[in-house]
Symmetry: C2
Subunit: 142 residues, 2 copies
DNA sequence: AATTACCTGCAACTAAGTTGCATATTTCTT
DNA sequence: AAGAAATATGCAACTTAGTTGCAGGTAATT
């Protein structure tokens, strides 16, 4: 099980043309363990002081560039990241699902089952991407 | 016209139980002049060094508390604000419109004409609010 | 016009994010 | 499997963003 995960992570990194390093493996493991989106400070907390802040920033940026993770919009200064589905890649991003932020526990979830609706904008706008963030109360907190 | 604006601003502040001060009036004027959403650094730039950073933070927070402005979600660390429609107030917020971010000029717009669609989440989630941010190319940039 | 309530600016601080560079680790090549 | 090349990391130093307490100032109330 754990072995399996390691192998999966190894392939994921290699497929993205990234070296397999301790930091990257640890960070991917955290993403896989977590049921919600994570932000920079979560990694600092969970990894302890064994990894440099800068390395975490650069790791997240690399994952973003390669389409391994995606960002989720927030109304504050935090930046939240979540794993992309396996079908995403560097040049072919398609995370067209809805995000949910629970007001009770603060967790942000990807609702992979829920597609973003198509939206009709006024004439003259070209639509490239639609982000939907729903806030409310999640299953666990109700 | 300008006089009119001043009066309008005066009423807006008084109705929200806020004192009418130079900073607040200037900031509201900037919101009214601008066709897009603004962030903290825009105010620092546009107001010059005549106003303290802290005052700007506190002013935006006060406007937010009173329902004069609302925040727009972003995927970066910036916090974008835009004026609420006149029908909003402290306890009755209803900015159920779509936001648009132009990838060319960087402007973020409120599309008041475009309502957010209703979204059907999986069972067990209570929905309180739905935010939609569309990115693409705006009228002007096409 | 005086009193009260509220707002602003300053200083000092915490947190967040970036860049350059030297060193270390991983990957490639043979 | 060893050495060369490519890539990643950690540190230092810096920039930008956001917060808090408090003294003094301005706006509102009477």
């Amino acid at each position: 099980m754990v072995k399996n995960n390691r192998e999966q992570i190894h392939h994921l990194l290699r497929n993205s043309h990234l070296s397999v390093t301790e930091t990257r493996v640890k960070i991917l493991e955290l993403f896989m363990k977590s049921n919600g989106a994570l932000e920079h400070s979560d990694f600092e907390k969970k990894l302890g002081q064994s990894f440099d802040r800068v390395t975490i920033y650069r790791t997240l940026q690399a994952f973003l560039d390669k389409g391994i993770i995606h960002k989720i919009p927030t109304t504050d200064t935090s930046v939240r990241y979540a794993l992309c589905k396996s079908e995403c890649s560097e040049h072919d991003h398609h995370d067209h699902h809805v995000h949910f932020k629970c007001e009770e526990c603060g967790t942000t979830l990807c609702l992979e089952e829920t597609d973003v609706p198509s939206i009709q904008l006024p004439k003259g706008y070209a639509v490239h991407n639609v982000e939907v963030v729903v806030s409310g109360v999640c299953k666990q907190c109700k």
